[in-house]
Symmetry: C2
Subunit: 544 residues, 2 copies
Amino acid sequence: MTTGPIMGSEKVYLEVEDPDFGRTLRVPQRRVGLSNGSHIDLYDTSGPYTDAASSTTIDVHAGLARTREAWINDRTPVNGAVTQLAYAKAGVITPEMRFIAAREGMDPDFVRSEVAIGRAVIPANRRHPESEPMIIGKNFLVKINANIGNSAVTSSVAEEVEKMVWASRWGADTIMDLSTGKRIHETREWILRNSPVPVGTVPIYQALEKVNGDPAELTWEIYRDTIIEQAEQGVDYMTVHAGVLLRYVPLTAKRVTGIVSRGGSIMAAWCLAHHKESFLYTHYEELCEIFREYDITFSLGDGLRPGSIADANDEAQFAELRTLGELTHIAREHDVQVMIEGPGHVPLHKIAENVRLEEELCGEAPFYTLGPLATDIAPGYDHITSAIGAAQIAWHGTAMLCYVTPKEHLGLPNRDDVKTGVITYKLAAHSADLAKGHPRAQEWDDTLSQARFEFRWQDQFHLALDPETAQSFHDETLPAEPAKTAHFCSMCGPKFCSMKITQDVRKYAEENGLSTVEAIEKGMQDKSEEFADQGKRVYLPITD
Amino acid sequence: MTTGPIMGSEKVYLEVEDPDFGRTLRVPQRRVGLSNGSHIDLYDTSGPYTDAASSTTIDVHAGLARTREAWINDRTPVNGAVTQLAYAKAGVITPEMRFIAAREGMDPDFVRSEVAIGRAVIPANRRHPESEPMIIGKNFLVKINANIGNSAVTSSVAEEVEKMVWASRWGADTIMDLSTGKRIHETREWILRNSPVPVGTVPIYQALEKVNGDPAELTWEIYRDTIIEQAEQGVDYMTVHAGVLLRYVPLTAKRVTGIVSRGGSIMAAWCLAHHKESFLYTHYEELCEIFREYDITFSLGDGLRPGSIADANDEAQFAELRTLGELTHIAREHDVQVMIEGPGHVPLHKIAENVRLEEELCGEAPFYTLGPLATDIAPGYDHITSAIGAAQIAWHGTAMLCYVTPKEHLGLPNRDDVKTGVITYKLAAHSADLAKGHPRAQEWDDTLSQARFEFRWQDQFHLALDPETAQSFHDETLPAEPAKTAHFCSMCGPKFCSMKITQDVRKYAEENGLSTVEAIEKGMQDKSEEFADQGKRVYLPITD
């Protein structure tokens, strides 16, 4: 497995007192130390794997420390429920909420109140005590999910565990195990015991394996047993396509790309084969009971999401969304947390409508979208076409973005693709954090830009989302050590470096005992008559 | 040089009659033939290099055919001017306009009228008769520019010509030669004689070389002579930082990243050194006279554009924009075409304001922006951070996007970086075309998505912006020939393929002599009482 600190960073822990439960919580942060003696602490999803002090002793067979176990055992159910939602409604600030508040730089009671009204969820199965609590909601940092999982065609268990470590190293806030091949149970067990981030699944995939791939053979009992099996293992959230109703299937008949959700197409096939309503829908309240017992979060799947620009925002999509709204309210009555999955493929001008409708119909449950891709014409670059849509939809309020890799529509992502997908989605999510004015977002940009302006090349690399790539791109043109401190870069050379010139101007002013503004003001004053004579131009007052 | 058709495409020519000048114009298109016998014709920037019939006979020493020469020689000046703007105002539809109308699928007189009011420009120096006419304006397809050019540090003339061919092959609508090193004149000459797309420059770079890199030594005369030298060679548009006024420089003093435009910093340094107003500003009308003679388009540079999120939309930036507005109107009085350069680094929520102000202050002159980057934290991925901003700003009305490569801020782009930058910007531009509802935009997406749904893998590759990458990504997992026709892909395998299931459903219906909708309707009718009994759910009427 990949362990050790990210280049230029170290793991530090905020120590947070929890007066209600009498504990000290240790909240991880990624600290980037700078050459000017300062530092910045960044949100850190990577778990113990990047902690130099402990990463060497991680035993993948033993799994990570079960930190939350004591928290869970200590507390008594509220109205028979052990969910974060039940506690939040009852006014209890759980250790998870306090941990999250420190991580996000928010007030603990604000975290509680957002969970209480269902505008945020904390996916944390009580059987996954290894996880570091995190929150998904529009008033917090935008989160990203990375899909991993073996398929019928390729890959192995060890590879999938390493993909989880790898994805969370680069910033995945949750991972989804979408395995569809052999050893689904075993793969998931290894991932869960070693995952510091919440793990999601789409249980219908495993259920379908149990009936040898024939959707018509699926039954509620087989599905329910699969849910319980995964719940016991500790899956934190599950995608359930309970909104694919029989009567919606015809709405997809004239689409350019029909049904593109795997789960959606399986349920549509089942409904048609039996001419009955989906068992996910008819047994939904039983599902809620199971989810409540473990505190599993619903991720209500958009089985009828558009798979092309042509199909975006159509009747099939929005009919299903209305049903997801109904299901959201039912789950909440059971004290079960809910988020709503969203598209898919949507052109830029139709994105805002998706968020508006989701919030209206689903009581502001966190929206969790796959991209969306803003065009269909660029297979091989769909991490980018989707990042364009993802940044846009997250700005409008989507709480979590499911990543898309360069291999989307073409093949299975390899290790590099997973990293590219994660970094691309981190930058899209951060762009939205900036646009939403998250109080801690811009400090990162400003710190990096200041380093850039001052030619602190190493600081610039270390502050980058992907320090290794930033440095290697720089070194491709100018590998020698002096270039790391050069006051210009390979793009412009010394004569044309705009930042160098700007700095020279500032230096000139300082050497003359003046601030830059004063230096220029003085010079302008000397020449003021010249300017006055040119009266035909607008004169702007100088601000300070 | 790279020649020959793009994989899966052939060059075809629309033959367009020009009744006014008695000629037949040949307008190139990229035709993608599909395995189902149909085809789609796409906008094509790649010139004769991708024409199988002629590309083998191209002689780089002789240059491309001077097709426009006869057009230019045939016509008489209007009011002493030979510019497209002068003709447009006089009601003349030039062959360039007619060529463009066919290329864009627009009415020729609409092209003329957009040019006449200055909302679109046709950069076409009469000394660059090798170029294929194109238009930049918000009511046309969004265009992209690729920067090439040697630097003081690396690269050669042959490399730069190949970069031009390479960039236009993948879709660059214009290229800018930003050479700053040795042999600037010679490099530019080779590029121009072989370029099917308009070429832009930033003449201050060459002027600065002539004074050995000391901005204080620049003079109007040196600059003017450089302009004329480049005009004679055929440069189609020139970036002029005439809006960087002495009094604006102090406005940048407290910025995080000061002045980041090279041209802007050079002019700021000159202004401060002399405590005089910029010679670009004081001699602006003389510049207009020279530009008019050749029909060079002004690209009024944003020398004070923000270089970081922190500096976006500040007073320095918008003060300069107001001055660019003044200069726009002066140029138009001289019948000279104008576009306006824009930022830079701007968070998503501040992007729309840039377009609004530019249109208001600069009389809707085409906006030509560099990205903008939506965050600063991802060096190594700035093609993506900027594509997010670029798609957004183009949707709001930016007419041309200057590409950014993965090497931005770090080093000089190589061949792969140029391609990545161009493809990334094509997909951003196309996303905006879709969002703006350009009449011909969505056909491309729909054709590709239809191919995807029908598992026509080769068609999907050929329709991709980058067919080679799409195919190689597919072949990484499933290289064997049968996979090219498989009705599933490596992502899901045969059991889980949603499109396969959807198709099975449709096939089932067809085999039973029913359309899908009818099949399902019939089934539902049989079961209608069951549904009626479940009255608590919303029932949606089935549409057809």
